[in-house]
């Protein structure tokens, strides 16, 4: 009963802010004690641009495996993850459906519906998924520029919207080779 009351309180609080998909996503995972879940409302990207962001971080490998399955996140080869030096991170970004971001990502070549899609960034080392709930073309452009395009440059891969992007900082030649090898298979 106590939980129901608390949950109801936050539903009302979130609903009052006009949230929809964000609320659903947050509440879907908020009571999972193996996850750290946060919803940032009106996160300011630029002076006149804000964005709602949901963070889901797994606290252990088991919960991370569940998240990966829920969000259809591609699993990286173990040798690549193990070869990462300190400070390096592999990030996968892709699009999902706004109301159901855990559904399979938008396939390559599919047009991205601004009104019904979200952009996700996955940090493997941190076991974290960032869901960016954009709602305008400007927000999408920003995310593509901030996340997608830079990631493509890093990987030297000219892939289009809807594909998956990787970003790795200071990768070694060996890591770069593993990354490209995995990426080419996609």
């Amino acid at each position: 009963m106590k939980k129901i009351v608390i949950c109801l309180f936050f539903v009302i609080a979130l609903a009052s802010t006009g949230l929809k998909a964000q609320t659903q996503l947050y509440l879907q995972y908020a009571f999972d004690k193996t996850l750290s879940v946060a919803c940032i409302i009106d996160y300011r990207l630029e002076d006149d641009m804000t964005l709602d962001v949901t963070m889901l971080q797994a606290k252990d490998d088991a919960s991370w495996d569940r998240l990966v399955a829920d969000f259809n996140v591609a699993a990286l080869p173990q040798n690549l993850l193990q070869s990462l030096a300190d400070g390096n991170e592999v990030v996968l970004t892709h699009y999902g459906m706004k109301n159901h971001p855990q559904t399979p990502a938008v396939a390559k070549g599919d047009s991205v519906d601004v009104n019904n899609s979200c952009f996700m960034g996955i940090e493997y080392r941190e076991k974290t998924i960032w869901v960016f709930h954009y709602s305008t073309p400007e927000q999408l452009d920003y995310l593509q520029g901030k996340l997608g395009l830079y990631a493509m440059e890093d990987c030297g891969k000219g892939v289009g919207i809807g594909d998956m992007f990787f970003c790795m900082n200071r990768e070694s030649d060996e890591e770069q080779g593993l990354l490209k090898s995995f990426f080419d298979k996609k």
Binding site: I6, Y29, K33, A38, D42, G121, E126
Partner: protein, 176 residues
Amino acid sequence: MESNRQITSEEDVRKLIHSGQWSQHRKRVVRRVVAAGVAVVALPLATIGLLRQDGLGASSSGPMVASVETPMSVHAPQEQPQQVEPAVKNRAHNTTVIAKNAEPRQETAVLDSETQPASAQPPQEFAMASEQPQVERPDILAEFQETEYSMIVWNDYSEADTIVDRLNHFLIKKGV
């Protein structure tokens, strides 16, 4: 011997009355009834007491200590209060923080910057607000230092401070 004979008929009663032993017989009968009653009540109580001494009941004194102090009851790890409840932070108004902490505390702290009691500890998010994420591009970090948001909802109080910093770091890192 007289007192032990069987009283089975009305004639036996008359003989007892005439001999003056009737009152003694009644006392003897009453004593036997009382003894039987005490036995009926005491036997179950004694049985229960023995069972409790064997560790099947709750007790913590006398010889029961050894059986109670088993690894199951004493050294078993206490279940940690891992369940956390969602919390809401509203920085737009920068006034109200509603945080529901771990279950055993059984309390909901409603802290207001204007009405916060003197005894209340400052919320962790304010204490940590000055910490900056470790990034390689301080020039890009400066771009995000004025980042604002209207509200954060989170389910893990211990992680709440770093959420925005981590998001800033994530976006900056991707921009490198």
